[in-house]
């Protein structure tokens, strides 16, 4: 075994990885830095990299009504709406995805594999193609401009994939474990709750993370369905900066940082489950 080529190999790979990471992360970092700068500093030339005198004014402005100058949206409200929509639909998706996933993994019914395959196909539709029909549907149902409507819509979109992830992971759990629980005196529901679900936790967390991030960041459907300011979500809030008379970049930076925060936290706490859940069954172990 020759060590030198191996070392070069790893150093080379690391450099490539660093470059890619830098390329992806720099704009985000730039936005993050901008959030601490003042309006005048952002306008001056030459551009300064680090804030000259870091300030939290942009954050204060987003959160205090007195600073809103009639232009900024009610950011605490937007954040609350986004949390409501993302968390509620995540709960719905994981709950029903677990029930459906269990059925697909364990019960025999006609057309099971076809339907399970169909769930994946439904993921391949371009969202844009569904914008107009969805708008018509939601207005007909009277669910436009309502966060509840958005919760239902996101749940419907998220359910197929969550079901699919959960079903694949439940299939990995030996049937004998449930049979053993049933011999031990458990009903089917008890054996599911006490034996199967604890073992499926990585998949449930993966499905939940996947859906939460998607729902939190969703823009297109929210933008066509939500009209009144009190119903809007953070993604619409971010887009609305474009419409302001003056582009105050420090506000964009502060808002974007706040919007990114929940997603970063979700990944920070869930990533070890995330890779495990997605790779479930990929390697026989």
């Amino acid at each position: 075994m020759n060590e030198t080529p191996r070392t070069f190999y790893w150093i080379g790979l690391s450099i490539i990885g660093l470059v890619i990471a830098l390329y992806i992360l720099f704009p985000i970092f730039w936005l993050f830095l901008a959030s601490f700068k003042t309006q005048s500093e952002l306008a001056q030339l030459p551009i300064s990299f680090w804030p000259e005198s870091a300030t939290l004014d942009a954050y204060k402005a987003l959160f205090s009504p007195t600073h809103q100058k009639g232009q900024l949206l009610d950011w605490p409200r937007l954040i609350g709406n986004s949390f409501f929509v993302a968390i509620s639909s995540t709960i719905l998706v994981v709950f029903f995805g677990t029930l459906a996933g269990y059925a697909f993994a364990r019960l025999h019914f006609p057309g099971r594999d076809l339907i399970l395959g169909g769930l994946l196909v439904s993921r391949m539709f371009q969202g844009a193609a569904l914008l107009l029909p969805t708008y018509r549907l939601m207005t007909t149902l009277g669910l436009q401009d309502s966060t509840i409507g958005l919760v239902l819509l996101y749940s419907a979109f998220g359910l197929p994939f969550a079901t699919w992830i959960i079903a694949s992971s439940l299939r990995e759990i030996p049937r004998e474990l449930e049979e053993s629980a049933m011999m031990d005196g458990a009903s089917r529901l008890q054996s599911m709750a006490m034996v199967v679900l604890p073992l499926a936790t990585p998949a449930l967390i993966t499905a939940a993370m996947w859906h939460f991030v998607g729902a939190w960041s969703e823009f297109a459907f929210a933008s066509i369905l939500l009209e009144s300011n009190e119903n809007k979500t953070v993604t619409i809030g971010l887009a609305s900066f474009v419409e302001l008379f003056t582009l105050e970049f420090q506000f964009v930076g502060a808002a974007a940082t706040i919007v990114a925060l929940p997603i970063m936290l979700v990944f920070f706490f869930g990533q070890r489950y995330f890779t495990r859940g997605l790779l479930a069954g990929a390697v026989k172990g």
């Binding site: 030996p174 004998e176 049979e179 053993s180 049933m182 031990d184 005196g185 458990a186």
Partner: protein
Amino acid sequence: MGSVTLTNIRKSYGAVEVLHGIDLDIADGEFTVLVGPSGCGKSTLLRSIAGLETISDGEISLDGEIINKRQPKERDIAMVFQNYALYPHMTVAKNMAFSLRLAKEAQSEIDRKVKDAAEILDLVPLLDRYPRQLSGGQRQRVAMGRAIVRDPKVFLFDEPLSNLDAKLRVQMRAEIKELHQRLKTTTIYVTHDQIEAMTMADKIVVMRGGHVEQIGSPLELYDRPASVFVAGFIGSPAMNFLPGSAKGGAIQTPNGDVIQGLPDGIAEGRAVIAGVRPEDLRLADQGIAARVVVIEPTGAETQLMLRTADTDITLTTRDRVSVAPGDTVHLQIEPGKLHCFDAETEMSLRTDDT
């Protein structure tokens, strides 16, 4: 108490019937082994008794009560699975306590029962471990512990030793048997290994293709196999079979060897199969002629692989033999040790069978 009666058990998957009417009586406290090649229906039968499979027809009763409509949890039967099926997220103690927790027993009672079972099975130092931290034999014992804490009427074992290495298998075999002698709980044990069946069972049920081929004690099956299948399945090395036809009160093989000992009343010329166990053959000056192919000394005994003009024959002897591969030897059958089967039905022609 735990006497099990199966009456005309049938099981179909769609149009395919896999159990064709099984009748079986198992007395309280009996150790019964269901044995047969894979696909013979033994596991399906066991799972039907457990309630994990629904039967298509027939009745399963336990102590006179019909239980085949009951859920598994309502049958008072415990089962040990082939892969142990231990709950990976629970410690050994929690695994064993699971059924008692579901039955809502008092914590003090649960602790006492788990401790008792752990002592019987030598699991006390392992109670706080998780299944992944245990060896195969330890997992096997936890699976048994989980069954015995419940003090059920019947234990079911589904090939419990097949995941263990040979040495551990012999050891666990003895442990299971000892456990049975101690608890005296009715036990139904499924295996494809005839040695396991022979060494453990009070009663062996040989199954084949969804039928019961023969039921009896290990030595009954060995000494009086009802068919060519049972004769060939029970015993290792397997029984030798020599096809021939009845002639003048003896069996004549196609190449002219004559084997004495044909039962009375067999019509002249009827096609029969002579069966003889390897240890019931001995080397002699005359008799069936065979060429020595391989000699396998194991110390206590020696096996000779022989080839006649028609077939291969195995001979086992405790004598030290001085033959070499290629030699021609002659074989005699110990008097009274010949088994005769009808060539067409493959059923025994023994006249003292009733």
